[in-house]
Symmetry: C2
Subunit: 307 residues, 2 copies
């Protein structure tokens, strides 16, 4: 029993109203792995890194339970690099630099040792790359979850439409859901998107929480009201990693269990934004996670018997 996390492993330069960092480890697979590893091990990484990816970062991830067998190391190129600046509201950001580097040639290979993984998380990448991973799985995973971004909705819509027919769950933010569906109402958008393939849909609304749709059912998980969101980078990937880690641990892909998984994902994301990059995720322990989940319960729980 294990999980595969596919996605970028990179370096980021981030500027928020609270501070600035020139070079910090990041990428969808890194955030997702740090979150998922709290719930089950191994977390089978599929990614590509360059000659600048520090050994200490590999060792730390391995110590948390990540497997690097599916991570290609390119000796004569650098890792993917992204630089961005957040606005005051933290919901919008400008991308300053995107250096694809090794990511330009990413052609993932799934090692034999990963073939028994029942859960597959496809982080944001070109949909053709995501399709290639699914096709390499000899046994279809029990749950395939997909993340994407607005760039692919315009740049690779054909491939995106194809991969949507191959997955069980899509995770997008509200803007992406509107763009993909052509509907402003998220309820209508959800219906349109589920007709494209995924039976489950998570729409992330940042500081306003997340919605889970399945058929005519809907569930809402709030974001924790925080004094400060220090750095939102990676919050979505951390959410996805926590969600899938919990699902993989419990081996229950029912709508009911996904509700709990969304709360777990939201709790993990609430840690992520407290410090720069993966800093906070590197240090959290199980007790802190349990306390945080308890805060989410208190946040939304009310006495039904009173009504």
């Amino acid at each position: 029993m294990s999980i595969i996390c596919v996605g970028s492993m990179d370096y980021d330069a981030i500027e928020t109203p609270f501070g600035k960092t020139d070079r910090i480890v990041g990428g969808a697979a890194v955030y997702a792995a740090y979150a998922a590893a709290n719930f089950l091990k191994p977390v089978n990484l599929v990614s590509i890194i360059g000659n600048d990816f520090e050994d200490k970062e590999v060792k730390l991830l391995e110590s948390k339970g990540a497997s690097f067998e599916g991570v290609e190391k390119v000796k004569d190129k650098k890792s993917f690099f992204w630089s961005g600046r957040y606005h005051m509201d933290m919901n919008t950001r400008d991308t300053l630099v995107t250096d694809l580097n090794v990511l330009a040639d990413f052609n993932p290979q799934i090692p034999d040792s990963y073939q028994d993984s029942e859960f597959l998380l496809l982080g944001n990448l070109h949909p053709a790359v995501q399709i290639s991973v699914i096709k390499q799985m000899k046994t279809r995973p029990r749950l395939i979850a997909l993340d994407t971004m607005n760039y692919w909705i315009s740049a690779a819509i054909e491939d995106l439409r194809l991969v949507l027919t191959m997955v069980d769950l899509l995770m997008v933010n509200d803007t992406e859901a509107r763009e993909l569906s052509g509907e402003y109402s998220l309820v209508k958008a959800a219906r349109v998107i589920m007709q494209m393939g995924p039976k489950f849909l998570v729409i992330k609304k940042g500081e306003h929480g997340a919605l889970l749709f399945h058929g005519n059912q809907v569930f809402f998980a709030p974001a924790l009201p925080l004094e400060e969101v220090f750095d939102p980078t990676g919050a979505g990937d951390t959410f996805a990693g926590g969600f899938m880690g919990y699902i993989a641990k419990t081996k229950d892909i029912s709508f009911n269990n996904m509700k709990t998984a969304i709360i777990v994902g939201s709790a993990m994301a609430s840690f992520c934004v407290e410090k720069f990059g993966t800093e906070r995720l590197k240090e959290i322990n199980r007790r802190e996670i349990d306390d945080r989940i308890r805060q989410f319960i208190d946040l939304v729980n009310f006495d039904i018997s009173l009504i």
Copy 2:
């Protein structure tokens, strides 16, 4: 046991992306009364109306349980009139016309028959008018709730600061909370505002739900994800009316009961936005309300035992 609702009773002209109406009854006290009357009667209105306020609207409100003893009728002037146009996102609107008419001279008088009311809802009005109402109460109500708007934060901040020291609960939207406190983070804003007087604070976030703060406690109630928000006018007043109606019915002003009251208020507001003005509120019955509250329970409830 009853409740006093103070606020405007007016006519509105509303334009939304879904339609347009030239003249429709509205006002904070009207919306609040329609919501509160589902939970207890009488709803003691305190307001002022002009010679154009239709008798059929008075009769309908009375049939629902509203008392007009505290409503001044001015024979030679018209009722307050407001006209506005909503943008596509329904979160922002332009005010086109504001004709104060009778509201310019509003000097509310609390009838003796209202003096036993234990719950007081002060809808959005000049804070000096709100202060006058509080001062007329011979016995302080058990719970005084106040609504206000950004206009008074700039135009009457001294009076607003004074009335804040006299009330138990303030209801504002996120923009107003930020403006009043000078803090962007809603958690920080809540702390600052509660130091100004009210022990309880509700921050309404429109389609993103509402937060209830009390000391270090926080509770979040989502808005129901709707296919369409047809007309958001009066949603905040309807929320306040449902909240206070439920509190007055249960006579329990604990934080725990307020959680449930926020869910009830959110349910009432979710009806309000389904049609123009008060149309939907005029027709709902108790069974529909119970069904809607059940939807809210399903929306946020997850199995804690799974964690």
